[in-house]
Symmetry: C3
Subunit: 202 residues, 3 copies
């Protein structure tokens, strides 16, 4: 149930981020819907394929697609009629990262895999949608630019795993994990937090 | 049987579009074969992975790969010896989109999924090959540029579903769906048809 | 057992190539780990997904991920402290291509597929990791540039298949296949060997 809500909220915010990206690059309506859909289903689809969970979440339950279409149309309407919200795209992306990273981690842990697999699968689930979105418009994905992105996901998943190991109830561990990722990522967006850069070599 | 022909024709025309793209960007022979193959198998492979149909179509039946290699070699030979055909690449891409969109829709519908899932899966099956091709050469895929692409696939799949619901025999519904996609897409290529663009936001 | 060693060595060298690429483009530590991981697991993951082998190799055995993290951290440390090795990135990539191409070919052959499927699956397994790495940084993948890449993989796999058909023991056929790919690829890197280019058309 909680997982279902994580996934529903995750597809909605990633659909918004895809639709806003489409609007910024001057795509038409269907291109916008396509980019919103790919962004929204990318992470969970990768999670389900890699863990061999069939049917894939949005094939099993078509409500996800209805949510995506509604969220994408509303954001395109907004961006056509109202002044842009500053950082709207980055906030939607941060929320999607947080929700899907913890959803991916939770599913992988429930399947009984080791912590390093849980961390990797959660990070991939959270990052894949935004990565696909950025690759589609031929940009280097956010995850590979210089601020905190993968590291936020890893930190949140580790917090989630530690709290669960400490005996906390699942819903609180999940909430804490999501908030850690969102907090770190928003710190990077708003105040430029970052990790040490690697030195370029020849 | 009809599905088999759709898929065979689809891989052939997508192989041509991949080989022509390779020739334009100055790749060598094997690079051209690789791009033709990825373009040709991309859509159907995604369809089979997402619907958990194993073995994947080209693993089950190696004839697809023979068709791809033959189509790619012939188009590379053509482009090395004869004057280029205007719009050859866009026509091949439009045909591939039309054939694979209806093939993906038909398979998904036969599995008993809801219409919105059928439309999405068909569109993805049709668009994935060309999308991979364009991503490989670091270009923004056709589907995200300003003319009719995803919308053509959606329209053709909806026509296919309506005709089948109206009791038409499968082969005629398929033919109509393919023709609608091809017609809309060629209208976009030849006469610049397009949907309203989204306004860029800040 | 031999397959296990091929895969372990393959992920290690691809992790090095991903980490070096990250260092060159000025990513931070976690971005570097992410790129190293994607490069290292890309090919084998595609192989396991397409052949429906579950659990995926790095989900089944978390040692792969430990090797990747160690290899990535060591190369980032190296590139931060010591003078760059000339061609280090291209050599790591060539080794990864050779190891994974033969690993993919061997698994596909053991599943009883036809030679053309074995060649394609081996080439994809070998090339996918580096292809993902280059797409992530919005570059045209090495495989589509003008020197020998896919052709080296194809040649090595054909040699492997012929030697096995001639009755040679598996380990020697594997070794020969790996050396052929590595030799052809290094010849291309060091002495500019290449196949005839395709003529660009209008």
């Amino acid at each position: 149930m909680l997982l279902y809500l994580l996934d529903l909220a995750g597809v909605a915010v990633f659909a918004v981020s895809g639709a806003l990206t489409a609007a910024r690059t001057g795509m038409d309506l269907l291109g916008g819907l396509a980019l919103a859909t790919i962004t929204a289903i990318g992470g969970g689809t990768l999670r389900d394929l890699l863990l061999n969970r069939h049917p894939i979440f949005w094939i099993r339950d078509a409500r996800y697609l209805v949510v995506i279409v509604a969220a994408a149309l509303l954001s395109m309407l907004w961006s056509a009629c109202l002044p842009p919200l500053s950082h709207a795209l980055l906030v939607a992306d941060a929320l999607g990262l947080a929700l899907f990273a913890i959803s991916g981690a939770q599913v992988t842990e429930a399947d009984g895999h080791s912590p390093i697999v849980v961390v990797l699968m959660g990070t991939m689930t959270g990052a894949a949608g935004g990565m696909l979105r950025d690759m589609m418009i031929a940009q280097v994905p956010l995850i590979f630019r210089q601020d905190i992105y993968a590291s936020a996901a890893v930190a949140g998943i580790v917090v989630y795993l530690l709290l669960k190991a400490a005996g906390l109830r699942s819903r609180w561990a999940i909430t804490a994990g999501v908030l850690v990722i969102l907090g770190l990522r928003m710190g990077a967006v708003l105040w430029g937090w970052h990790l040490p850069r690697l030195h370029p070599v020849g």
